[in-house]
Structure formats: C-alpha cells, structure tokens
C-alpha cells in the first residue's frame, strides 16, 4: 500500500465516520459539526485527485460560509428531540428500503466497467494549474450553462428576498443614511447668554 493509498483511506474513513455522525448524533449542533468534518475530509480526498481549486472552494464556501450560517440557525432553534424521535419505528421499514435502494444503485454505478476504467489517476506536471483549466472550460465550452445557472441562482435569491420583504407602516426603524448625514448644526444650538449682573452683597 503506497502513501497515496494510506492518505486516501484515512480521509475516506474520516468522511464516512463523520457522515455517520451527522445521522447518529443526538444533538443537532454536534450533527452540524460532524458535517463540517465530513466536508473537510472530502476536500482532502479531492486534493489527492489534484483538484485543488474544487477542494479549497469546498472548504471556503461550504465550511467557511454555508455551515457557519447553518450552525447559526441550529444553535438558535429550540429543537424538541423527543418529538423528532416520535414514530421512528413506524417509518423505519420505509427508510431501510430507501437506504437499500441507494446502496444497490451505488454498487451498480461504481461497479460498472466505465467507472472502473478511469480509476487510475492522471499525474499532471507541477506547473499544471487546475484553476486556470477550470476557468477556461467554464468560460468557453460551458459558458451558456454556466451563465444560465448563475441567472437562475440570482432569480432564486431575489425571489427569496421578495417573499420575506413586506412593508409595515409605522415601524420606528432608524434611517442610518439620515443619521450619518446629521451635522452638528442640526441638533446643537449654541446660545450666547450674557452672564448675570453681579449681585452686590449687603
């Protein structure tokens, strides 16, 4: 077993165990943290495949941003675990069936001859830039799918904001632009008052 294999099996087993942890963990915050671990070790596997752009982007986007917001929400939720666990045995056969189906599909796909052929990794030269190649492909061959995907995401974002945006009259929120624009002259009036005449003491 070469060093490459050792590293691969290390990352792969951590990924699988973290994935199990996501499902098994009782505390939702622990589950989210297990998912972070799974992402990190998956990034390690991608790094082994010399896909450094994808690996680092996975850490940057999913671990650095998406999971932070996930944790943010999960920490603030008041989740009733007893209620979540209700009806576990009633749904168990259905879940087991789905899991079995997925295992069967995975074996079918990964065991097929086409996948077996590409299992050998192509070793690139040291100056090969994964990022540059990806950029070239995305902005030449796949420019239309890429732009369409971007527009769809933009539409989804605008829609999500539009759904939650509502104007309520009489809200006393601050207008920050107005506050920042405030000048000393708007709020402060300096009055020049003559001092009191001296009272002569008798």
């Amino acid at each position: 077993m070469s060093f490459f294999d050792v590293v691969f099996y290390l990352f792969a087993s951590i990924t699988v165990m973290a994935g199990m942890g996501v499902v098994v963990a009782r505390n939702p915050v622990h589950a989210a943290l297990f998912l972070v671990l799974a992402f990190c070790s998956a990034a390690g596997v991608w790094m082994l495949l010399e896909a450094e752009f994808l690996a680092i982007t996975l850490v940057l986007v999913y671990v650095g941003a998406v999971m932070v917001l996930f944790l943010f929400v999960v920490m603030m939720l008041d989740i009733n675990l007893v209620k979540l666990r209700e009806g576990f045995w009633r749904w168990f056969p259905f879940g087991a069936l789905l899991a079995g189906l997925m295992v069967f599909e995975m074996i079918w796909v990964l065991g097929s001859r086409q996948v077996a052929d590409v299992s050998t990794t192509v070793v690139r030269a040291a100056d090969y830039s994964n990022t540059k190649e990806l950029g070239r492909l995305i902005y030449t061959d796949y420019v239309y799918p890429f732009e369409i995907a971007a527009v769809i995401l933009l539409v989804a974002m605008v829609a999500a904001i539009a759904l939650t945006l509502r104007r309520r009259p009489g809200v006393k929120s601050q207008n920050i632009a107005e506050q920042v624009k405030a000048k000393k002259a708007d709020r402060l009036r300096i009055v020049s008052m003559p001092s009191e005449p001296k009272v002569s003491s008798k």
């Binding site: 450094e52 982007t57 850490v59 932070v68 944790l71 920490m75």
Partner: protein, 342 residues
C-alpha cells in the same frame, strides 16, 4: 545554498523531508509567536503614547519583559471548565481558533525564495483558512453554555461571514490584475522600473481600503470588536475561558492581525519590492510594510469608538459589497484598454 545540510540529509534518508518541513514550520511559527508577544507590548505602548501615558515600563528595561511575564502568568493560571459546558467542544474551541491562524502561514512568501509551500492556489488557500477561524469563536460561544458568550459568538459569526464577501471580491480584483493566485506571482506582478508606482495600491486603491477595513473586521479588532464588546457583553465569546485556553484565543487574534498585515503588503504594497527603483528589493521592505500596517491597526484602536452593530452590518453589505462589485467591473474594463499600465 544548503550544502552544509547534505550530511544530515544523507543520514536521515527518507525521513529527511518530514523532518526538514517540521524544521521550516518551526522557523516560521517560532518568530511568529515572538512577534505576537511583542505586538501586545507594542500595542500597549503605542496606545499609551497616543493617550499621553507611559504604558508598561516596570518589567525589565523599558517594560521589554512584560509579554514574557504575561505569558508566564497565563500559563500558571488554572483553566476553569464550567460544569454546564460541553467539555470536548469547550477545550477544542481555542485550538480551532489558533489552528487556521497558523496554517495560513504555509503559503505566505517572505521574499522571492523564502516560502514554505509555493502553491498555485495560494490566495484561495488563505481565504479558506481565514474563513475557518470563525469556528473557534462559534464553538467557544456555544460550548460555554453562557448567554454572553453565545451572543458574542452569534455577533462574530454574522460579522465575519459578511465581511468575508467584501474581502473576497477585493481579492478578486488583485488576482485579475496579477492573473495568478500564487502570492509570489502577485508580488512579481508588481515589479517594475517605477518602484511604488507599479504597486497595485495605485489602480486598486478603493480595494486596498476595503481590504484593510474588512481585515480589521475579520480579526474582530476595534472599532469592529462587537464580538467582544466589553461594555455590552462582558468579553463575548471567551468570557468563560481562563489561563492558557484564553491565551490561545489571544494568540490566534494577534497571529491573524499579523497575517492580514502581511497579505495587505503582499497584495497591494509590493511585498518585498523596494518602493524606490535605486534601492534593492529585500525582506526588510516586507517587514517595514507589515510594521506600518500593524501600526495602523493599533492607531485605529486608539482612535475610533466601537461601531454600533447595525451600522457595522450596513457598512459591510450596503457599502463595501457594492463598491467591490463595481470595482471588479471597472478593473475588468480598464484592463481591456491600453491605459492599464500595471
């Protein structure tokens, strides 16, 4: 250059590479920790002088041994683990805060040859590592099982995620100008016969300001230290930490400050390049620029009052992100014209 090491290399055989790498890591991390220690002293001294005080001057000559005394004090103190806390996460949180702050240093070039790992995607790697730093804060806040710590963690998470976007876009303009993600290449892209006029700070000046301010916000420094906010939430996410566990957060924050200073000088101020054409390029310039940026950090802290939370969010989302997106388009257009001289 390294001929005198050859006998050791032959002696160790295949174990040479890991051993040599560890040595190189120590050579970076050791001085970094020293810099962190003396940055705390510099901070207290500089702020003291700005407020017409003397600053620490009792321990050693001119107070120079103060950081060592502080370090020994923190080492000797008891680490209190609150009984209601989640012990595993409570202990791992300070490690999570310090680890990315140190890991990011792997790709930082000090001069043309001196870099631990000269990777192509260096800039991306730095962004990924600095974005991991927030986990230390969040986990600390949650595992402490304390209201103040939790509020600090939530504030910090929202702040770091917001400013990361502006920071990322500011770096996009840098990599457009340099046409590389490699930090060494970015510095070499600023090489030219006009000294500091060749630096990216000239065409990307708005991005320099955005990056510097976002860097202050990312490291939770004043005036963006709402995550700590002594007057509002005691000390924020690390309120339950004591002794060395607290010191790790402290080390992480200052190591991040120095990292941001290095990145600012690499990406906008020409790294190790000389500001004037008649002087040679040297690592001294690098350290001088870093010291200047660090001084700015201390100056900000001594000068500005803390931002209010809603204004901080407004600055990130409604000011910086639009500015950076506009400047990405401007730079893209500018680079297509013959007036792009960099």
């Amino acid at each position: 250059m390294m001929e005198w090491l050859l006998p050791i290399q032959n002696l160790l055989g295949p174990a040479w590479l890991p051993v040599w790498t560890v040595v190189k890591i120590m050579v970076i991390v050791g001085p970094l920790m020293g810099a962190v220690a003396y940055l705390t002293l510099a901070e207290r001294k500089v702020i003291g002088w700005m407020q017409i005080r003397i600053g620490p001057n009792r321990v050693g000559p001119l107070g120079l041994l103060q950081p060592i005394a502080d370090g020994v004090k923190l080492l000797m103190k008891e680490i209190i683990i609150p009984s209601g806390s989640n012990k595993f996460l409570f202990i791992i949180a300070p490690i999570m805060a310090l680890m990315p702050a140190l890991a990011a240093w792997a790709v930082v070039p000090f001069n043309a040859e001196l870099v631990l790992a000269d990777v192509n995607a260096g800039l991306l790697y730095i962004l990924a590592m600095t974005s991991l730093g927030v986990y230390g804060v969040i986990i600390a806040g949650w595992a402490s099982n304390s209201k103040y710590a939790f509020l600090g963690a939530l504030r910090s998470a929202a702040q770091i995620v917001s400013y990361e976007i502006a920071m990322g876009f500011a770096l996009v303009t840098v990599l457009m100008a340099a046409q590389s993600l490699n930090l060494g290449e970015i510095v070499r892209g600023q090489q030219g016969s006009y000294g500091m006029l060749n630096w990216y700070i000239i065409p990307l000046f708005p991005m320099f300001l955005v990056y510097l301010i976002s860097g202050v916000a990312e490291t939770n420094r004043a005036p963006f230290d709402v995550a700590e906010g002594e007057s509002e939430i005691v000390a924020g996410f690390h309120v339950e930490y004591s002794g060395m566990a607290f010191a790790l957060f402290f080390l992480g924050e200052y190591a991040n400050m120095i990292l941001v200073a290095f990145l600012t000088s690499i990406m906008f101020m020409g790294g190790w390049l000389s500001p004037v054409p008649f002087l040679p390029d040297s690592i001294v310039w690098m350290f001088a620029k870093v010291a200047f940026v660090l001084f700015l950090f201390l100056w900000f802290r001594a000068t500005f009052p803390r931002y209010r939370y809603d204004q901080l969010m407004r600055l990130g989302w409604k000011v910086f992100i639009p500015i950076t997106i506009v400047w990405v388009v401007v730079v893209g257009g500018w680079m297509q014209t013959p007036y792009w001289l960099w």
